[in-house]
C-alpha cells in the first residue's frame, strides 16, 4: 500500500485531495448536496464522500436532475446505491417542469439545456448552498478552466473571466444569501484515473459501461442502442453489435462505442489506447460549437 519512502501513488493522492475537498464543504457550507446521476464519475464521487465521513453517514443529501430520458439500468442503480448508503435522495424532475409549463421541450429532443432551470429551481426550493458535481477538467476545455470551488451568483451563473483566486487548498466557501458554490472534487482526475479507481476499489457500476451485444442504429457515424427513447427511423438499419457506453447521459442522445471490453480491466486497456475524447465519441449534444460547454456553464449548467 504505502512505501517506506512515504510517497503516495497518483490514485492515493487524488483520493486524498478529493476527500479533503468534500470534508471542507461539509464543514464550511450550510446545505450541501451531491449531484448523483448514476454515471461513473458521480459513483466515484459518492464513494469518496462515503469514505470522507465513515463510519458516519454522508451528512448531506444527494440530488438527481431527472430528465425523464434515463437508461432504466442507471435509475435502478441509483436507487439501490442511495438505499445502501442511507442517504436522502432529492429528484428534480424535468418532465414535471415541462408539465407545469416551467420549461419547454426543445425541437431537437435534447433536454440538456432545459435541465438547467430545473436544477436551479430545486436549488432554490431546498436552499442548497453547495452543489457537488462529478465534472473533471480533462473533459472539456471550458471545464479545464474551472476552479475546484466555483462561485455562482444568485442566478447560478458562472463568470469565467472573473473567478475567485484559489490558493493552495485554502478554499473560500463564503457566499451571500442566494449565491452558491459548485464544488468539483474530481477536478484533477482523468477518465483513466476514474476507471483505475473503480477497479482498485471494486466499485459497482451499471452494466451499461461494459460491452454486450446490443441492437443498434447508426446516426451521423455514431452508434445508438435501440431502446424506448431511440426508435429506428425510416431507412435506418438495425443491427447487432458488441458495444458499451463511455459516458451515460440521456438515453436518446448518448451513443455507444464498439467494444469488446466486458470487464473493468478490459475497459482500462481500451481507454488506455483509445484516441478519441469521451465526449467527442459519444455526445451528440456537445458538437454544437467550440464553446458549447462554456455557454451552457455560464447559464448555470454543471
Amino acid at each position: 500500500m504505502t512505501t517506506p519512502d512515504y510517497r503516495l501513488t497518483q490514485l492515493e493522492t487524488l483520493e486524498a485531495e478529493s476527500i479533503h475537498v468534500i470534508r471542507e464543504v461539509a464543514a464550511e457550507l450550510e446545505r450541501p448536496v451531491l449531484l448523483f446521476s448514476g454515471g461513473k464519475d458521480s459513483i466515484v464521487m459518492l464513494e469518496l464522500a462515503r469514505k470522507a465521513f465513515a463510519p458516519a453517514r454522508i451528512p448531506f443529501p444527494v440530488m438527481h436532475v431527472d430528465t425523464g430520458l434515463n437508461f432504466p439500468d442507471v435509475l435502478e442503480f441509483r436507487d439501490k446505491r442511495v438505499a445502501e448508503l442511507g442517504v436522502q435522495l432529492v429528484v428534480a424532475s424535468v418532465p414535471d417542469a415541462i408539465a407545469r409549463g416551467v420549461v419547454k421541450e426543445e425541437p431537437n429532443g435534447s433536454r440538456n439545456r432545459i435541465q438547467t432551470p430545473v436544477l436551479l429551481d430545486a436549488v432554490e426550493e431546498h436552499g442548497f448552498t453547495a452543489l457537488f458535481g462529478g465534472a473533471r477538467r480533462d473533459e472539456d476545455k471550458a471545464r479545464a478552466k474551472e476552479r475546484v470551488f466555483s462561485f455562482r451568483d444568485e442566478f447560478g451563473q458562472w463568470d469565467p473571466k472573473n473567478q475567485r483566486p484559489e490558493l493552495w487548498d485554502l478554499y473560500n466557501g463564503r457566499i451571500h444569501l442566494g449565491e452558491s458554490i459548485r464544488v468539483f472534487p474530481l477536478s484533477n482526475w482523468t477518465e483513466l484515473d476514474v476507471w483505475q479507481y473503480i477497479a482498485r476499489e471494486g466499485i459497482a457500476i451499471p452494466p451499461l459501461y461494459l460491452a454486450q451485444e446490443r441492437e443498434v442504429v447508426e446516426r451521423q457515424g455514431m452508434l445508438y442502442a435501440v431502446n424506448e427513447f431511440v426508435r429506428p427511423r425510416e431507412g435506418e438499419r438495425v443491427f447487432r453489435e458488441s458495444v458499451r457506453y463511455r459516458t451515460v447521459g440521456d438515453a436518446n442522445l448518448t451513443a455507444a462505442v464498439r467494444s469488446r471490453a466486458t470487464t473493468v480491466e478490459e475497459v482500462i486497456a481500451e481507454v488506455a489506447v483509445t484516441r478519441m475524447t469521451e465526449r467527442g465519441a459519444t455526445r451528440g449534444d456537445d458538437k454544437v460549437s467550440d464553446a458549447a460547454m462554456e455557454d451552457r456553464k455560464k447559464e448555470g449548467y454543471f
Binding site: Y6, P165, R174, I268, T277, E294
Partner: protein, 437 residues
C-alpha cells in the same frame, strides 16, 4: 466519428494498460508566459508528443489552424475570450502521463493584470517552467514569473530558453541568458534551477534530446520533468494535523466513535504517538487512525485520514494536533509577505477575514512595512497601500491565535488567504517568511 473496435487483448492494448496502471507519482507543474513566448506551443508539444491529445481534438485544431502547420497553441486557450484575444486570461489544467510519472500542468497567464490567476496555478506546483524567448533574453515578465515562483516556494524552477532555432542554436546566447537568470535566481533563494535550450515549434529538447545543440549536455525538458526528485520537498519531520471535521456517527454500531478527520499537513503520525492538541495544550495519544481503506498504523502528508485519540478531549475544527516537544508557534501577530489580488487596495487599519489551515479568524492590518518592486527587488518603505497584484510585507493582528510555522519550512502551516468580509472575495495570499520580527 466512430473508431475501430479496440482489441483489448492485443499486445498494444495490454502494454498501454500496463503503462497506464503502473505505480506512479504525480508531478504538478506550472507554466507561465504569454503566447508570444511560445508557451502554448510548448504545452501543445508536450501533450501531443506524450499522446495526451485525442484525434477529435487534433482534428478540431487542424481545422482552426491558419498556417501551413498545425498550430498546437490552439490546444490550450479554452475560453471564447481567450481565443478571440489570443491571450491566456485564466489558468487551465492539463493532464498527461508517461510510463514514469503523471503530470498535472497548470497553464497560467503571463500578463501582469492576471497575476492572481498565475498565483492560483503556481500555488500548488512542485515545479515551475518559466519561458524565455532566446532572441529577447530575460524580460520584466520572466523576472516576475521567477520571483512569484520563489515567493510561493515552488521547489523546482526550470527556465526554458525557447526559439533557439531563431538564434541558430547559439551557445553564447544561451549561456548569457542562463548566467543572467542564475544571478537573479541567487537573490531569490531558488533551491533548484535548471536551464534548458529548446525549440517548442520544432520539438528540439522538449521530449527527446536534440542534436542541434551538441554543446548542451543536459536532459530534454520532459526527461527532467520525469526524473526531478520531489520526495524530499515535503516536510516529514514536524507533525502537524489541522482538524478539519469531527466524525461522530451516533449510531448503534459506532456508539462511542469520535474521530478527528483532516489532512496530514506535515510529519508522520503513528498509532501510539503521544500528541498535543492546540489551543488547549492538553496531551493524549493516538488510539487509532482510520484511512480510506480502514485502519492504518502510520500516516504522512498529504493523506486524508481520521484520528482517534485515547482521551476524551474537547477538540473541534480549527484545532491542531502536533507532538508535545515540537509545536508550531501560537500567535496573533502575523508578519507576512502578502500578494494582493483585489482592485480595492490594502491599507492599514483595514479589517479582513483570514483562513489559515482549517482555522478562520478575523484580522486588522496593523502596518504595511514595505512594498516590493518585483523587478528590482527594491523595498519601498514609504508605500501607503498595496494595489492589485502588488506584493508587500504586512503586519496583521488576529482575533484568535493561529498555529504557524515559517513558510520555508512548512508550506501548509506557513500560508493563509485573506478574504474581504463584505464581498466574500479572496483578496490576498500570505506567506510567513523566516526571521520574522
Amino acid at each position: 466519428m466512430s473508431e475501430p473496435v479496440v482489441d483489448v487483448h492485443s499486445p498494444a492494448a495490454e502494454q498501454a494498460a500496463e503503462i497506464a496502471t503502473a505505480r506512479k507519482d504525480i508531478l504538478r507543474i506550472a507554466t507561465a508566459g504569454s503566447v508570444d513566448d511560445g508557451k502554448s506551443t510548448l504545452i501543445g508539444r508536450l501533450l501531443y508528443d506524450s499522446k495526451a491529445v485525442f484525434e477529435d481534438q487534433y482534428e478540431a485544431i487542424e481545422r482552426a489552424s491558419k498556417g501551413d502547420f498545425v498550430d498546437l497553441a490552439l490546444l490550450t486557450d479554452g475560453l471564447r475570450a481567450e481565443r478571440e484575444q489570443g491571450i491566456t486570461i485564466d489558468v487551465a489544467y492539463r493532464y498527461f502521463s508517461t510510463p514514469r510519472r503523471t503530470f498535472i500542468l497548470a497553464d497560467t497567464p503571463g500578463h501582469v493584470q492576471y497575476t492572481r490567476n498565475m498565483v492560483t496555478g503556481a500555488s500548488t506546483a512542485d515545479l515551475a517552467i518559466v519561458l524565455v524567448d532566446a532572441r529577447k533574453g530575460m524580460l520584466e515578465q520572466s523576472r516576475r514569473h521567477a520571483f512569484l515562483a520563489s515567493l510561493l516556494r515552488v521547489p523546482h524552477l526550470v527556465v526554458a530558453v525557447n526559439k533557439m532555432d531563431l538564434v541558430d542554436w547559439s551557445q553564447e546566447t544561451f549561456e548569457a541568458i542562463a548566467d543572467e537568470f542564475s544571478a537573479f535566481a541567487a537573490r531569490l533563494d531558488v533551491p533548484d534551477l535548471t536551464v534548458v535550450p529548446i525549440s517548442a515549434l520544432h520539438g528540439d529538447n522538449v521530449v527527446t534530446r536534440s542534436d542541434r545543440a551538441p554543446w548542451y549536455q543536459g536532459p530534454s525538458l520532459l526527461h527532467h520533468l520525469e526524473h526531478v526528485h520531489v520526495a524530499s520537498d515535503r516536510n516529514l519531520v514536524d507533525a502537524r494535523f489541522p482538524v478539519q471535521y469531527v466524525v461522530r456517527p451516533q449510531s448503534d454500531a459506532h456508539h462511542d466513535y469520535r474521530g478527528y478527520a483532516g489532512t496530514v499537513a506535515s510529519g508522520v503520525l503513528r498509532v501510539g504517538d503521544e500528541v498535543q492538541v492546540l489551543p488547549s495544550g492538553l496531551t493524549t495519544s493516538i488510539a487509532a487512525i482510520d484511512g480510506p481503506r480502514g485502519p492504518v498504523q502510520e500516516v504522512f502528508p498529504p493523506m486524508a485520514v481520521t484520528l482517534r485519540l485515547a482521551d476524551d478531549l474537547d477538540v473541534s475544527r480549527g484545532d491542531l494536533v502536533c507532538r508535545p516537544a515540537n509545536a508550531p508557534q501560537a500567535t496573533q501577530d502575523l508578519d507576512a509577505l502578502v500578494c494582493w489580488m483585489a482592485e480595492e487596495p490594502l491599507r492599514p487599519r483595514q479589517r479582513l477575514a483570514v483562513k489559515h489551515t482549517t482555522r478562520s479568524v478575523r484580522a486588522v492590518v496593523k502596518e504595511l512595512v514595505y512594498r516590493l518592486d518585483v523587478n528590482t527587488l527594491h523595498r519601498d518603505q514609504e508605500a501607503t497601500e498595496l494595489g492589485l497584484n502588488d506584493i508587500g510585507r504586512v503586519r496583521l493582528r488576529t482575533t484568535q491565535p493561529l498555529f504557524v510555522d515559517d513558510y520555508n519550512r512548512n508550506r501548509v502551516t506557513g500560508r493563509f488567504i485573506l478574504v474581504d468580509e463584505a464581498t466574500n472575495a479572496t483578496v490576498g495570499a500570505g506567506m510567513l517568511p523566516p526571521h520574522r520580527g
